[in-house]
Amino acid sequence: MALDRWVVCEQCDAVYARRALQPGEVADCARCGHHLYRRHRFDLEILLALTLATAIVFVLANIYPVVALNAQGAYNAATIWGAVVATWESGVAPVAFLSALLVFFFPLSQICLFAYVLLGLRRGKRPAEFSQAMQALSLMQPWSMAEVFMLGILVAIVKLHGVMTVIPGIGLWSFAVLTLLLAALTSYDLQDLWDIAERVDQGESV
């Protein structure tokens, strides 16, 4: 019995027969409404390009200051990493640690792992640590919070605006783009990559 004709709903245990979807179409569970599986608009090539673009924007968002303040000649600019260090020095190490993980290390790891997995699959071979990489990706997914940090930047800007002169930096625009690209990248269903890996193992071209 070809069991991968079946799909089991993660949220209510209902079983369905898989059917071919149109690009962009989503199959929902008829019982609880959970998204069972989808057919993505982008293929492996586009996904890889997206990963590369996300990596470039990640670098830009991290080397340039996000915002700078000007208070009557006194000037201070902050990068993301600068915010982590300043929080650490301010005596609240757990906050610094948490911010570093959620805004820096998890997004960075996601980008690297996607690149690793996709480059391997595109070469027609399952990478050596594929299984571990996929597990790390799925564990990190809920904890990657670039979009929350983006809103945080905006709130901070509005809070300071009026008291001091706030100058948005290149890092801000880069981070905004990073938020969008990362959201697009992580919307990709990881279980689909397992299906692709299986096809690659059987020698099919993807």
């Binding site: 069991l3 991968d4 079946w6 799909v7 089991v8 993660e10 949220q11 209510c12 245990d13 209902a14 079983v15 008829a30 019982r31 609880c32 409404g33 959970h34 599986y37 915002v67 303040l69 208070a71 009557q72 006194a74 201070n76 902050a78 915010a83 982590v84 260090v85 300043a86 929080t87 301010s90 005596g91 609240v92 757990p94 906050v95 948490l98 911010s99 959620l102 805004v103 299984s131 996929m134 597990q135 809920p142 904890w143 919070m145 929350v148 940090f149 809103l151 945080g152 709130v155 901070a156 509005v158 809070k159 300071l160 009026g162 001091m164 990881l190 279980q191 397992w194 299906d195 299986e198």
Partner: protein
């Protein structure tokens, strides 16, 4: 419910949580692993209710100091002001940015409290074996899973303000213990909702 729908448990199937592979359920699920990706197979998330309760109670206890302790201290040459989450929201409201006050209030107060209530409803209804509105409760679970991390907003705002506002002449901003506690609350509520297995909502039999 519809008679056409059958569950994996009824059909003797099991799906892998990590890769989605569907296979025949082995005699003993415990200790078996997925044929495709090698992840350990589980019929349901292990100790789902116990773990969810533990994280939830810890989060609710920590939510008290998160609100009473100082989130952020603003120091200028003349005085120092301590802000908690609520006083920060009120400050934003009075300062003429009610939209911003609303955003921070939703993220820091409504989302965590809503999540506490939703998880309590889910846990208690599952423990009582309630057959009521399973679709609605599953949807509630999906909502709290999606919005939970937005509560981290205020913690990030404090981190940014600390990094930006540090002038010798005009003053500086420091983070307080409230920020640590609040970050802890968000992590704990996320762990609680990740431990909860929504399939438990569907496991109880229909009332006849």
């Amino acid at each position: 419910m519809s008679t056409a729908i059958r569950t994996a448990t009824e059909m003797g199937l099991i799906g892998c949580r990590r890769c989605g592979h569907v296979m025949q359920r082995p005699e003993t699920v415990e200790g078996s692993s997925c044929a495709r990706c090698g992840a350990p197979l589980r019929w349901r998330k292990p100790q789902s209710l116990e773990r969810c309760w533990a994280f939830l109670i810890a989060a609710m206890i920590l939510y008290i100091p998160a609100n009473t302790l100082t989130m952020m201290r603003t120091i200028n040459p003349f005085n120092a002001t301590d802000d908690t989450i609520m006083s920060g929201v009120i400050y934003l409201w009075v300062a003429g940015t009610p939209e911003l006050a609303a955003i921070v209030f939703v993220a820091s107060v409504m989302v965590p409290i809503g999540k506490f209530i939703a998880l309590l409803i889910l846990l208690i209804s599952v423990q009582r074996g309630s057959p009521h509105d399973r679709v609605g409760r599953t949807r509630m679970y999906r909502i709290i899973e999606k919005i939970g991390h937005w509560s981290m907003l205020d913690v990030f705002v404090v981190a940014l303000l600390v990094a930006l506002v540090r002038f010798d002449l005009f003053g500086r901003v420091e983070a307080g213990g409230g920020a640590i506690c609040f970050g802890g609350v968000v992590v704990l509520t996320m762990m609680a909702s990740l431990s909860f297995d929504p399939r438990l909502i569907w496991d109880t039999p229909e009332k006849t």
